[in-house]
Each structure stands twice: as structure tokens, then as C-alpha cells.
């Protein structure tokens, strides 16, 4: 299947979903004008991808958001719900919530999301300064 690549803008994150490398990344800021429209292709790609995914294939999902609005939080919850269900079905999916060193707020957001999921592997990853 084709990779999903959406360029980063001032209001929306960069999306790089690579089906061959099994690496899914959302990076940047997320407060698009129309959140559901922006994320619609993300969800349809994800549903197709999971349907075809082998159980023993390890998948890494990297989320690195410096700012997101409330609608994006809801989208993230829906997104994690799909991953959680897949994990429940036996897929090996790990979410990496990446936050900047000393960014306690971002760490707290990650902790809030992590609490909700049981099957899904949810890692809080501190980004080392380059």
C-alpha cells in the first residue's frame, strides 16, 4: 500500500505513515481549521493498514506534538482507540509519546492518554537535545 505523507503547515502537523517500514509519525502542531477533514485521510489509511497487518509485525507509532487543540485531543483519543482495539486483537503496536526535555506539560498530556489504554503499549519518551 502507498505511504501517507502530509506536509507540515503552520496549523497542522506533518504526517508520515510508512507501510513498508511500519513506522507511523505525527509531528508538529495540531490546530487545523477543520480537524475532522484534516484527519479523515489519516483514519482511512490507518483502518486499511490495520486490516492488512500481520499479527507478528511490530509497528512503531511516534507522536511528537508541541501544541494541539481540544478537537485534536479528541482525534488522538479516537486514533489510540483504533490502535488499542488492534492491540487487543493481537497486533504488536507501540505508541511512543515523544516530549522535549523539561517539557512537563507535554509529559503530563502523555500520561493522561497513557492511563486510558490497557492493551496498547504506550511509551513516554524524552527527547534528548540534539
Amino acid at each position: 500500500m502507498e505511504n501517507l505523507i502530509i506536509e507540515e503547515t503552520k496549523f497542522s502537523p506533518s504526517i508520515v505513515f510508512d507501510g513498508e517500514k511500519h513506522s507511523l509519525s505525527i509531528t508538529g502542531k495540531s490546530y487545523p481549521e477543520n480537524t475532522s477533514v484534516f484527519y479523515a485521510p489519516v483514519f482511512s489509511w490507518l483502518e486499511d493498514y490495520i486490516e492488512k497487518l500481520d499479527d507478528n509485525q511490530e509497528v512503531g507509532v511516534n507522536i511528537e506534538l508541541i501544541y494541539f487543540n481540544s478537537s485534536s485531543s479528541k482525534v488522538l483519543l479516537d486514533f489510540f482507540d483504533i490502535l488499542d482495539e488492534a492491540a487487543e486483537d493481537g497486533k504488536s503496536i507501540a505508541v511512543n509519546w515523544i516530549y522535549e526535555e523539561d517539557d512537563e506539560d507535554s509529559l503530563e498530556f502523555g500520561e493522561e492518554f497513557k492511563e486510558d489504554y490497557e492493551s496498547l503499549t504506550f511509551n513516554l519518551v524524552e527527547k534528548k537535545p540534539e
Binding site: S36, V37, S70, S71, S73, V75, L77, D105
Partner: protein
């Protein structure tokens, strides 16, 4: 936006819709009902979970935003921050012309001081200065434009406009308060160990400026440009330490409230014509200064009375207290005469006056005979002393000075009384005591005094004079009391008696 929200919750809406449709049928098989109910419950649980998480995330974000705003508020002026925060749409502050009063200040020779201070010390030093000054800017409602090192730029008249006169007056009053506060800061800095006392200088000008956002679309600066800005800055540079120079236009608005020096004519860089400037002195009257201070370093008195808050009774109490303290410092409380310290100081004054004016000066010690034999309480004995003091005071002349020397001894200074007249004069005092009956604890008693007298002679020290007069008193005492003995005070004639 509503469509966005709708589609965000599309899955949840589908569940609600199917539940609603199901309820429309009256005849539903139990199995269908249960299946639908499970779906609804699952959806509800998920929604609850989402709502909980979203609330927490949203609260967190709001807190983050508030902290950010608070921090940001420190970097822009209070007025501008308020305007940005309260502005509903994305209206940028448009550039416009308006009359403003502009203020500049800096610390004279600060670069020199800064050059030999450590970085940490420098920032502590500078921040304590800017903190104090900024509080005054806020107090007077000025828009703090920027800090440039030790320099401060403030303007009045935007974003809040009141009247040109009001802006000018508030600005000058702010400058006067800053100058006053500098005195306190200098004391503080000196105590902290900074050697050079720093002084500020200030310049103020009024006129039309362009106010608005200047800069690029990425980084805007809300500031002002125009000739009054340059003028205020040049006036500041022209001012000497602790001086406030104001432009003639500013002066036009404030001269009925603030006293200025005679106008000066200045040649300022960037201005072709000569500029009239006024040096601000102080506020007229005491409208804004209700604090009255008495600072008497010699007497060690430091009284501060705030008339804005003090009541009449409190004021009277303070004055009375001051008077009492002053009185107690130099008087003997029993007799109302000068105490030993005060009378000896007075004696020294009289000695030097006698020396200077070649006038005679008689001095006597007057001791109450047998006071210690009266077997009564201290209070009764003090009453006897007081009554005898009253008799002595009636017997002496207006220009004689009497004081209490110790428990039972008075000292009398008699300017103008010479060698020939002292025995006779002192004897008159002795007789007046002897002749007057006094009431002691309900009993009429006659008391007597012994008097030792001398005359001041040139170049005699206070100590020698006292020795002479004490020797004379001792002599009178040895003769059985109720007696007057006079001797000369100069050492070579120490033992010669007049009587």
C-alpha cells in the same frame, strides 16, 4: 466549525441515532434490545473516558496558557498587554498620530560602573533599580515603552487617553517621585557595598507622535516615533545628575502645579533651532505630600507625621510626648530646675561668656542641712527639696540660674555678681530659707542651708571652679551649717577666705 464538531463525533452520533430509532418501535425483540443496549453502553463508556481525559488535557492547556500570558505580561507594558488581551478580533493596533508626553531617564556614568561589576552583581543591581522605577511608572499610569540597559522610556497618552495636561502633569510628577526614590536606592546600594553613588537624569517632551506597531510581520514592536521622542532623549542627555529637563510645551501644561527654574536655551543635537528647556524643581504646595518630617541630627530627633492619616488628638499627643521628652532630658522632675548635666553645661556657657565680656560670675553650692536626718520616706524628702528650691528661686534675681547638683545640693550661677558682692548675696539666700517655715508631713519645720561660694576667675577650668566651690561648702558645713563661706577659685589663692 459546527460541521467540524459534528464530524468529530460522527461515530457517537450513529450510536445515539440507532438507539433513538429503536425506541420508536413499541414491539422490540428482547435480543435486539439487549444488543443495542450493549452497543450504547460501550459507546457511553468510551465517551466518558474521552470526556474525562479531554477535561484534564484541556485544564492543563488552560493552565499552561495562563502561565504563558503571565510571563508574557512582564515583557510588554501593562496597558498594551490589557489592550491585546481584551481586543476581541484580530485587529492590529493601527499606527496613528496623537499628542503624547514622552519620558527618558538613565543613570549617569552607569557604563563605567557596569564595566567593573561582575555580571551577576550587575544584573541584581540593574534589576533593583528598574523594579523600583517600574513600580513608579505603573503608579502614575505611564506606558512603559522599553528598557535600554539602564535607560527607561515611558510615554503618557496612549493606549489610554485622558487629556494632554493630565498626561504632562502625571509624567512630571512621576519623574519627581523617581528622583526622590533614588535617594533611598543610593543609601541601599551604599550599604550593599557599591562605592559610586549613582544618579539619574531625566528628559520630558510633549508633542505629536506616531504610535503603533513597527517591525516585521514576525516581530512587531508597539512603540512611538516622532520629534518629541528625540527631544525627550536629547533633554535627558543635556540634564545633569538629579535633574529633570522638560520641553517648553510640557512646561506649558504643568507650570501651575510644578515649580521650575528660569528657562534655559539649549543647542541640542538633531535640532536646528535653539530649544527652550525648564528644570523641574518641586511640586507647588504639599498637595501630594502629606508627610511632615523633622530631622534634627544634633538632637537626634526624627519625627515623621503623616497628615493624611493622623487625627488631631494623635497629633497633640505626639507634640506633648516630644515636649515631655525634651523637658525630662534637661530638668530635675522634683524641683523643675535644670538637672546636673544641664546646669553644668550652662555653667560652661556662662564661664566663656564671662571670659569674653569680662563680666563677674558668682557660683555657689547650696546644701540643705541635716536633710538626711529627717526620718521620712523618699517622697517626703523630695517634697522638702522641692519647697526649699521654691524659696531659693524666690530669693534669687531673674538672671540667676539655679539647678539641682545632687540629692541635697543646688548650684547657683549668678552672672554679674563679683567678689565683693557674693558673700552678702549668698547670705541673703541663706536667711530666706532660715526664715521660712515649711510644712513637712503635717509638721511646720524650719530648715537651714549651708552655702559655699566662689567667683569665676579667668582661665579656670570647670573642674577647678567646682573644686573651689565644693571646698567652700565643706568649710561652711564644718562650721555647723546655716553658714556662708566664700573662697577664691584661682589655685594660688585657693585657701584665702573672704568672710
Amino acid at each position: 466549525m459546527s460541521t467540524d464538531k459534528d464530524s468529530l463525533f460522527s461515530k457517537e452520533r450513529v450510536i445515539v441515532k440507532s438507539a433513538e430509532n429503536l425506541l420508536k418501535n413499541s414491539d422490540i425483540p428482547l435480543e435486539t434490545l439487549l444488543g443495542s443496549y450493549r452497543k450504547l453502553l460501550k459507546g457511553y463508556k468510551k465517551l466518558l473516558r474521552h470526556a474525562t481525559t479531554l477535561t484534564r488535557v484541556s485544564d492543563n492547556q488552560q493552565r499552561k496558557l495562563n502561565t504563558l500570558l503571565e510571563r508574557l505580561g512582564r515583557y510588554v507594558s501593562f496597558q498594551l498587554f490589557k489592550k491585546i488581551a481584551e481586543e476581541k478580533d484580530d485587529n492590529e493596533i493601527k499606527a496613528r498620530r496623537t499628542k503624547l508626553t514622552v519620558f527618558f531617564s538613565d543613570l549617569k556614568d552607569f557604563s563605567y560602573t557596569a564595566s567593573h561589576l561582575e555580571g551577576e552583581t550587575l544584573s541584581e543591581f540593574l534589576n533593583s533599580y528598574l523594579e523600583t522605577m517600574t513600580k513608579i511608572v505603573i503608579k502614575w499610569g505611564g506606558t512603559l515603552d522599553k528598557y535600554m540597559g539602564d535607560a527607561i522610556m515611558v510615554f503618557f497618552g496612549d493606549p489610554e487617553f485622558i487629556s494632554d495636561k493630565d498626561h504632562a502633569i502625571r509624567c512630571v510628577k512621576m519623574a519627581i517621585e523617581m528622583r526622590e526614590q533614588m535617594k533611598g536606592l543610593r543609601k541601599k546600594w551604599y550599604k550593599m557595598g557599591y562605592q559610586e553613588p549613582l544618579h539619574s537624569r531625566m528628559g520630558i517632551a510633549t508633542g505629536y507622535c506616531t504610535v503603533g506597531n513597527f517591525g516585521s510581520s514576525e516581530r512587531m514592536d508597539y512603540t512611538i516615533i516622532g520629534s518629541p521622542v528625540n527631544l525627550a532623549s536629547r533633554l535627558e542627555t543635556a540634564a545633569d545628575v538629579d535633574e529633570i529637563f522638560i520641553s517648553h510645551e510640557t512646561w506649558g501644561y504643568i507650570n501651575d502645579e510644578i515649580i521650575c527654574d528660569a528657562p534655559l536655551t539649549l543647542n541640542l543635537k538633531g535640532f536646528h533651532q535653539q530649544i527652550i528647556a525648564h528644570k523641574v524643581l518641586y511640586l507647588k504646595g504639599n498637595d501630594n505630600n502629606d508627610v511632615f518630617c523633622i530631622l534634627d541630627e544634633i538632637r537626634g530627633e526624627n519625627i515623621e507625621i503623616d497628615f493624611s492619616s493622623i487625627s488631631k488628638n494623635e497629633l497633640i499627643r505626639i507634640i506633648k510626648l516630644q515636649e515631655t521628652l525634651k523637658y525630662r532630658a534637661i530638668h530635675d522632675l522634683t524641683t523643675g530646675l535644670m538637672n546636673r548635666e544641664a546646669i553644668l553645661k550652662r555653667l560652661e556657657v556662662e564661664m566663656s561668656r564671662s571670659e569674653r565680656e569680662s563680666n563677674a560670675l558668682g557660683v555657689a553650692l547650696i546644701e540643705i542641712d541635716t536633710l538626711h536626718r529627717i526620718e521620712q520616706s523618699d517622697a517626703v524628702l523630695e517634697d522638702v527639696v522641692r519647697k526649699i528650691a521654691e524659696i531659693i528661686c524666690t530669693a534669687i534675681r531673674d538672671y540667676d540660674i539655679c539647678g539641682r547638683f545632687d540629692e541635697s545640693v543646688f548650684i547657683l550661677i549668678s552672672p554679674g555678681t563679683g567678689i565683693d558682692t557674693i558673700p552678702c548675696f549668698f547670705d541673703r539666700i541663706r536667711k530666706s530659707v532660715e526664715n521660712k517655715k515649711i510644712l513637712v508631713h503635717g509638721h511646720q519645720m524650719r530648715m537651714t542651708v549651708s552655702v559655699g561660694g566662689t567667683c569665676y576667675e579667668k582661665k579656670i577650668t570647670l573642674e577647678s571652679l567646682l573644686q573651689a566651690v565644693e571646698a567652700a561648702l565643706s568649710k561652711a558645713r564644718k562650721k555647723g551649717g546655716n553658714n556662708v563661706e566664700c573662697i577664691r577659685s584661682s589655685i594660688e589663692c585657693f585657701n584665702k577666705s573672704y568672710s
